[in-house]
C-alpha cells in the first residue's frame, strides 16, 4: 500500500505531526511560489479522527527551497489506494489546482525578516525617477508574486538624501506646501529651503506620493528608510544595490 519511494518521508497524519510541517522548514531564499505548501497536514479533521486508517506515504509537499508547485506532475504524488480516494479532497490527492485558482500568498510567503533589502545612493539622482523605482520595489510590482492586497515588496534604504538632484529651476521654484489645519495655516517652502531644514523629507514626500494611499500604503511607506549622510544602521540586513534601469536617472555632469 505504501509505495516505497526513496526521497519520501512517511508520516502519520495526526494533528501532532502537523506541527513539524513545512512551515518550520521554510526556505531562506525568496522568489515566488515555493513557500505555499499544498499539503497543510492537520487541517483536515478527517485525519485525526480515523487513526486506524493506514498511513500512506506522501511527499513532504514541495519540500525544498526552490521547488515550486509543478504543473501537473508532482514528483511524489501521494499514493492513496483507490478504495480510499473518497476520503480525501481533490487537492490532497493531486496537489493544489494551480490552473483554476490564481495564486494568493500565504503568511509564509511574505515574512518581513526574509524580505530583500535594497540600498540606493541618492547622490545626483533625479528625484522623481529615483522615487518611482523605489516605489515599484517597495510595493512589489517588480515581482511575479505581486498582490495588491498584500505587502510583498522589499525594503529600500536611501542614503545621501541631501544630495538628491532636480532638473531645471526646481531647486528654487518647486514648492512644498503643508497646512496646519487652522485658517491661514498654509505654510510654503521651496525645495532649497526644505533641503536645508529636513533633507529626508524630500525623498519621503516623493515616494509617499507614489505609493498607494490607504492602510497598506502607509504600511509600505514604513519600509522606506531615508538617511542624510552615507551612514545607515542597517548593515545587518546586508542590503543589495537597487537595480536601476532608467538611464536618465543619473544627472550627467
Amino acid at each position: 500500500m505504501a509505495a516505497a519511494k526513496p526521497t519520501v518521508s512517511s508520516f502519520f497524519l495526526t494533528l501532532a505531526s502537523s506541527s513539524n510541517d513545512p512551515s518550520s522548514s521554510s526556505p531562506t531564499t525568496v522568489t515566488a511560489l515555493p513557500r505555499s505548501r499544498f499539503l497543510s497536514a492537520g487541517s483536515s479533521p478527517k485525519f485525526s479522527i480515523a487513526h486506524s486508517k493506514p498511513s500512506f506515504v506522501t511527499s513532504s509537499s514541495p519540500p525544498r527551497h526552490k521547488l515550486p508547485v509543478r504543473c501537473q506532475q508532482q514528483q511524489n504524488p501521494p499514493s492513496i489506494p483507490p478504495e480510499q480516494r473518497w476520503m480525501f479532497e481533490e487537492s490532497e490527492i493531486n496537489g493544489p489546482d494551480i490552473w483554476n485558482k490564481t495564486w494568493y500568498p500565504k503568511a509564509a510567503d511574505h515574512i518581513s525578516t526574509e524580505k530583500t533589502w535594497y540600498i540606493v545612493d541618492a547622490t545626483d539622482k533625479i528625484l522623481g525617477r529615483m522615487a518611482s523605482t523605489i516605489a515599484m520595489h517597495v510595493r512589489g510590482k517588480n515581482l511575479a508574486t505581486y498582490t495588491p492586497s498584500v505587502d510583498m515588496g522589499a525594503y529600500v534604504i536611501v542614503i545621501n538624501a541631501e544630495k538628491v538632484a532636480v532638473s531645471g529651476k526646481k531647486r528654487t521654484q518647486k514648492l512644498y506646501r503643508r497646512h496646519s489645519g487652522r485658517p491661514g495655516g498654509l505654510k510654503v517652502e521651496t525645495f532649497d529651503q526644505l533641503q536645508q531644514r529636513i533633507p529626508e523629507r524630500i525623498v519621503e514626500h516623493a515616494v509617499r506620493g507614489m505609493l498607494p494611499k490607504g492602510r497598506l500604503g502607509r504600511a509600505l511607506f514604513t519600509h522606506l528608510k531615508v538617511y542624510e549622510g552615507p551612514e545607515h544602521p542597517h548593515e545587518a540586513q546586508k542590503p543589495v544595490p537597487l537595480p536601476i534601469r532608467d538611464k536618465r536617472m543619473q544627472v550627467q555632469k
Binding site: L33, C71, T102, W103, A144, T145, Y146, P148
Partner: protein
C-alpha cells in the same frame, strides 16, 4: 369586524433574512431593520462584483506577467509579449501565463524565448 392578528408571515420572512446575514458583524446581524438593509447591500455588491471579479483578476494577471517580463530583460514588456504571442498565434491566456510565471519560471522563460526569437 373580527380581530385579525397578522400571524407568522412577517416573522418567517425576517427569519430568512436574518439567516442570510447571520455572519455579519455587530448590529448587522442582530437588528431586523439593519439586517434587511445589510442584506440588500450585500446582494448588490455581490451582483456588481461578479463582473468586477473578471476584470480584477485579469488586471492582476497582467500586472504579474508584466513584472516577470521586465525582470531580466531590459527592453521587453507585457505589451510586446502579448503582441508577439498573437503574432505567433499562441492561445495561452493571461491567467495561465501568470500561473506559469509563478510556479514554473523556467517554463515561462522557454515560452518567452520561443516567442521573441522567431518573431
Amino acid at each position: 369586524m373580527t380581530r385579525v392578528k397578522r400571524g407568522y408571515t412577517a416573522r418567517r420572512r425576517r427569519k430568512k433574512i436574518r439567516l442570510f446575514a447571520s455572519t455579519f458583524i455587530g448590529a448587522h446581524s442582530r437588528l431586523t431593520r439593519t439586517t434587511t438593509q445589510q442584506r440588500m447591500r450585500a446582494l448588490v455588491s455581490s451582483h456588481r462584483d461578479r463582473s468586477r471579479k473578471k476584470r480584477d483578476f485579469r488586471r492582476l494577471w497582467i500586472t504579474r506577467i508584466n513584472a516577470v517580463t521586465r525582470e531580466e530583460r531590459v527592453f521587453h514588456s507585457y505589451s510586446k509579449l502579448i503582441h508577439n504571442l498573437y503574432k505567433r498565434q499562441l492561445l495561452l491566456n493571461r491567467k495561465i501565463l501568470a500561473q506559469i510565471a509563478l510556479s514554473n519560471k523556467n517554463c515561462f522563460d522557454m515560452i518567452f524565448n520561443k516567442i521573441i526569437n522567431q518573431k
